[in-house]
Each structure stands twice: as C-alpha cells, then as structure tokens.
C-alpha cells in the first residue's frame, strides 16, 4: 500500500479488468473517477459487471477473481499491489460499502448503537466511551429520530428504511473518502427510497465523501448522480451527466434501455420498444462493439474495436455512429 499526498479523487480506476477462474473478463477496460463529494452512478442490467466493480474497489472479490488495472486508487491509497492486511486498513476507514439488503450487513444479535461504535473501535479511532458518543452523533447524521433510544434497539425492531440508515451510519462512521452503495434502495418502498436518496445527497455535501452508486434503476441514477457511466457486457458504453446521457443518449444501448421503461410520459397501453435477445458470453469476447448483435443500427464496421470517445463536451460514447444516428428515447415507437 502506497500513500500519496492529499486525495484529489475519492476513487481513481484506470483500465480495470476482472475475470473469474481464467474465463472471459466480466469487466474490461473500465476507467472510473469519483471526485470528493461527487456521486458517480453506475448503471446496467444484470450481469453487466457493475457489482463486480463495486467489490473490486473494496478488495472484496473472492480469491478466484483476477483483477488487473493500470491504476486503482482508493482515497490516496494505491491498492494495486495491496494484500489483505492493506485492504483491512482501507475498508471501513477510507472506503466503505452499503448493500441492497441491510440485514446482510447487520448483526441481528447486537444493538445497533454498538454495531456503529464497533467500526470505530476496530480501527482504533476512538475509545469505548468516545465511540458510543460518536455512534449517537452518526444516528443523528442519518436522521434517525430519538437516537439514544434507537441505539439500544436490535435490528429486528427497526423498519427496513431505518435499518438502511443504520448501515449508512456504520459506513460513514470513520468519515470515509469513498462510499460504495450497491443498489442501496432497491429493497425499499419508493417513499422510503426518496428519504434514503435524499440522505445520501445531503451527507456527501456535508462530509465531502465521494459516492459510487450502483443501480439498475435509471430513475434513481437521474435523480441522485452528478455523473453516470452506462455499462454493457462488462464495458462502459457511455458516460456523462445523467440529464444529458438519459435525455439525449449517444449510444444505441442507452437509448434502447431508456425507451424500454414505462414512465409518466410514455403512451399507456402501447407496446414498449424491446431490446431483442440477450447478452451472450461471446459478446464479451468480440473485438468489436459488444452490443452490435442486438443493435438496430449495426453495420459491418461495428465489428472493429470501438473506443470510448467524446461526442459532446463532457459526454463520451463507445459508438462510431453516434453523430449520424438519431436516437430516440420515446417509447411511442
């Protein structure tokens, strides 16, 4: 683990590839950068590699996974050569994680206040008394009403939304530089989801923690993120500001994805545009565009390697036809 000076980015990843058991990489050539206080969204469907990225930047992949990268910096720590001891110094302290299911991160037999304090005790950041005082502060930070009472309760006594707040409090305990949130609101109701997204947004403003928000929900990404990367079959296919990327996509996959979702502006009871077929393993091995087999606009030239290139200021896409295509997100096809 090499420490450099003050972090300029909460996360800096270059050319990240992940493969399991010597198979075809599930993630390849991914560059990511999360600035302090920024929320970067990663969106894609099942199997696109988004969760693998989340695990990789926290060193949580199983030993069967092979991670290659040019650069992997979490906070100011270079983690390329890191061993388990180095990761233990970083996890929970410099970077932490919030999962979809809060119960998977909580100990059912331990009072929630003690679970939050434990984070500080494990990292030697506070003594017992100070850790408990800080736990109450954190409960307040995540807007849990009556923190002193709640701290003494067990996870089963709390609602799903409240449990997720506790998990976020644990993740924020050591004032991390990076928070990875993998589908943090997928298991919650929409009104509770709105509360939690609001909380993440307020928190990163006050603490300056950078957030990597992984989600399959385009709405969540649009509402919460400063920037978004769209993943398809292990590659980034488009990147930019959510309002720009989702309203004016430059990659046919992004356009098709947005169009396939019913919203309050789609024509009710009309057929939704579909993306034909599915992702095949062979799509990940192709040298050319991985979406070509399902793309309405594919030509023979799509078999050549596609670079992620700038199509507009602060907006990149991995499609050589971006400029000539008129992509629509209207689902009234």
């Amino acid at each position: 683990m090499t420490a450099t000076m003050a972090p300029t980015a909460a996360l800096a990843v270059e050319d990240l590839s992940i493969s399991y058991g010597g198979g075809t990489p599930v993630v390849s050539g991914v560059d990511l950068r999360v600035a302090p206080g920024e929320i970067l969204g990663v969106i894609g469907e099942s199997g696109c590699g988004k969760s693998s990225i989340g695990f990789a930047v926290l060193g949580l992949l199983p030993s069967s996974a092979r991670v290659d990268a040019e650069r992997l910096e979490v906070g100011s720590h270079g983690m390329l050569e890191a061993d388990e001891r180095d990761w233990n110094q970083v996890r929970g302290r410099v970077a932490s994680m919030v999962f979809q299911e809060p119960m998977s991160a909580l100990n059912p037999c331990m009072r929630v206040g003690a679970q939050i304090a434990e984070v500080l005790l494990v990292h030697g950041l506070a003594d017992k008394k100070a850790a408990h005082a800080r736990a109450l502060e954190l409960l307040e930070l995540v807007q849990v009403p009556e923190p002193a009472l709640r701290a003494k309760q067990f996870p089963h006594q709390l609602s799903g939304g409240m449990r997720q707040r506790i998990v976020i409090a644990m993740a924020m305990a050591a004032d991390p530089t990076l928070l990875v949130a993998d589908e943090p609101t997928t298991a919650l109701d929409v009104t509770v989801q709105a509360q939690i997204l609001d909380l993440l947004d307020q928190m990163r403003r006050t603490t300056g923690t950078g957030v990597l928000l992984i989600s399959h929900d385009l709405g969540v990404i649009a509402q919460t993120c400063d920037r978004v990367v769209v993943m398809y079959a292990g590659e980034i296919v488009e990147e930019g500001e959510p309002a720009e990327v989702l309203a004016h996509p430059s990659h046919p996959y992004t356009a098709a994805l947005v169009a396939s979702i019913p919203t309050t502006t789609t024509d009710p009871r009309r057929d939704l545009p579909m993306i034909a077929g599915g992702v095949r393993d062979s799509d990940r091995e192709t040298a050319g565009c991985r979406f070509a087999a399902r793309c309405d606009f594919a030509t023979v030239d799509c078999a050549t390697p596609q670079a992620l290139r700038e199509v507009a200021p602060d907006h990149t896409a991995r499609c050589w036809r971006s400029e000539e295509l008129t992509l629509t997100t209207e689902s009234t096809a």
Binding site: M162, T191, S260, T263, P268, L272
Partner: protein, 350 residues
C-alpha cells in the same frame, strides 16, 4: 375509542360490466401478544370486465392479501365477494373448483408456480387437470398456452431451471391462462426482472389481454408500470383503499395526499432532479387500527378531524372530471391536489 365500521355499499344489482365486486373485505390475522393485524380494513372495489384494475401501494399496505382474498385462496374475515353475479364465498366443493378455473394468478417469482422437479408441460397442465379437463385435451391446451406466450420451442419438455427469469415468467403466465380464465391477478409480475425483459413481459400481457379478452387485477409498487397497463387504479394504504378512479385522473391529478407523495417520490429517468414530497416516518403498525384516516400520522395536511374521523371513499368536487368515477378517502382533497402541482409543502425536508 369507537371506530365506525366501513359501510358496505351495494352496487346496483346486475351492473353488467362488473366481473368481480369486493365489498367491505376485512382480513385479520392474530399477532403476538393477543393483538390483531388488520391487513385489510374494509376494502370495497369493483373489477370491470375487460379492464385492468391497477392496485398500487407500498409494502404492508395489504395489496397481496387482497389478491389472495379475491382468489379465495384465503377466506376474508368478513365482507362479500361477487364473481359474475354469484356469491363467490358461498361456493364449495366442485362448484368452487370450477370457479378456480375462471380466476388465476401470476406471482412475482415464477418459481412460486413452477415446481423445479416437474417438466414445464406438467406444471402448465396442472390447473387444467385440476379443473377436470381430460389428459389429452389438457396437453393440447397447455401447448397452446405455451405457444401463446411465446415460450421457446420445445419448452414443454424442459425443466424450469433451463430458462432465464423472463422465459420462466412467460411459462408462469402460460400456466395462468391455460384454463382460459376471465380474471388474471398479476402480483408484481415484472418486479424481479431487468427493465428490458420487463418491457417484453408488459407487451405480452397487453397482447394477451387483447386476444383473450382477459380482465386483469394488476398489483405493483411501480407506479409507471401500473400507469402503463391500467385503465383504473386503486391506491392502498394500510389495508384501505384511499383513492380509486380512472388511471389518467388518479395518476395525473391525484386527490389524496398519499398518492401525491407516492407520485412525487418516483424517480423518473428523463425528469432530472426535481422537488419531491418527502414523507416523514414509516408506516404505522397494522396492529393498531386507526380511528381516523390511516395516513394521518404521516400527512402534512392532517387536522384533528383527520385523526379522529375516518374519511369515507367518495366522489370529490375536486376531481377533474366530476362523475368520472374518481373516488377519494380524504377530508382535504383540494389541498392535496395543490401539493403535487407545486411540489412543495411545509413538512418537506428541502
């Protein structure tokens, strides 16, 4: 504390377009410590022939309990269910069994209706055999159903695990439509699927409704999906229907503050960042029956009257189309309407 019992409203006799009428349905479950969970607290709804009635609400609002009651999978504690003019709760024995053929269900997880040890054909044939159809005919009709849902060739002879989630849901739908039911209750049928697969299933459901003249009761927490499929929408909160009416008027111009909050909480991909109504707190416990409006504890418009007197589900002057069948259970619908229009209210955390 006295709680006024919800009045059982009898629809006009012989209303020809009602396929199923639920009247004052209550479902109680015993809970720990001698308490009672009021899962359904007097639900009155009508499902019209050929329509999709969307049921929307959050976890614990009773929408799945309602589905099970409507299908007579669990008898409600009290209330009336009329199916095609007959008292469905009075059906017993063979008459009940032949009724089951007419109302079927699709669950969120297709694995709930497909036995992993059975080949697909056997699972799809099962409801047909149960309703007394002979083996040979059952097989034919099962294959027809699989064909109608666009299951892959040779699907009948394979096992559920050989299919993707989307394909498995198609097969579960085939099983539900095999008996040629009039009513299909769909309980979150696309919630476990990726969005591109969701579009395929929604399209299939629309197509089947058209070709087979099906009536749907479509249960979902996803308002956009509800809006896409439904002719009418009922919004549930804590075991009660708080608002019901034509989909375009309920979802575009809601009269209940809860519906307004729910709509504003839905993140939209193309809307960008916008003002939201953020509700404070959580759902109250269903073991404590609310004397007043069920939503009063989280409502920013609640007054003393709201806390003590349950508002009846009635037509409101505030409705965009008076007499359009848009009903709301709220003492202050006009203010709720205003809230969504401006997107602001005093309790907003922004």
């Amino acid at each position: 504390m006295t709680i006024t019992e919800p009045t059982i409203v009898h629809p006009e006799p012989g209303a020809p377009d009602a396929l199923m009428t639920l009247n004052g349905i209550r479902q109680e479950f015993p809970a720990a410590g001698g308490r009672t969970v009021h899962a359904l607290d007097g639900v009155t709804l009508e499902v019209k022939r050929g329509e999709t009635l969307g049921i929307v609400g959050e976890s614990g609002c009773g929408k799945s309990t309602l589905a099970r009651a409507a299908l007579l999978l669990r008898r409600p504690t009290s209330g009336e269910i009329t199916f095609d003019g007959d008292d469905a709760l009075a059906l017993r024995g063979t008459r009940l069994r032949s009724h089951r053929r007419r109302a079927q269900m699709v669950f969120q997880d297709p694995n709930d209706s497909l036995d992993p040890r059975y080949k697909v054909l056997r699972s799809v044939m099962e409801p047909l055999l149960a309703s007394g159809v002979g083996r040979k005919e059952a097989k034919e009709r099962a294959l027809e159903a699989l064909d109608a849902v666009g299951a892959p060739d040779g699907a009948a002879g394979r096992y559920p695990h050989e299919f993707s989630g989307g394909q498995r849901q198609r097969i579960a739908i085939a099983r539900a439509i095999a008996t040629e039911p009039e009513l299909v209750i769909l309980d979150e049928p696309t919630s476990a699927l990726d969005v591109s697969i969701q579009a395929q299933i929604l399209n299939l459901l629309l197509e089947l409704q058209e070709s087979k003249k099906l009536t749907y009761m479509f249960i979902s927490h996803n308002l956009a999906v509800i809006r896409h499929l439904s002719h009418r929408v009922a919004v549930m909160y804590l075991g009660r229907v708080v608002e019901v009416g034509p989909a375009d008027s309920v979802l575009a111009d809601p009269l209940h503050p809860y519906t307004a909050a729910l709509l504003s909480a839905v993140p939209e991909p193309d809307a960008g960042k916008r003002e939201r109504i953020i509700l404070q707190g959580d759902l109250p416990s269903p073991t404590r029956r609310q004397a007043g409006c069920a939503f009063a504890s989280r409502c920013w418009l609640a007054t003393e009257k709201c806390r003590t007197e349950a508002p009846p589900l009635v037509a409101s002057d505030a409705a965009t189309v008076p007499g359009g069948g848009h009903l709301v259970a709220c003492h202050r619908p006009a203010e709720a309407q205003e809230a969504l229009r401006t997107g602001l209210h005093p309790a907003s955390s922004k």
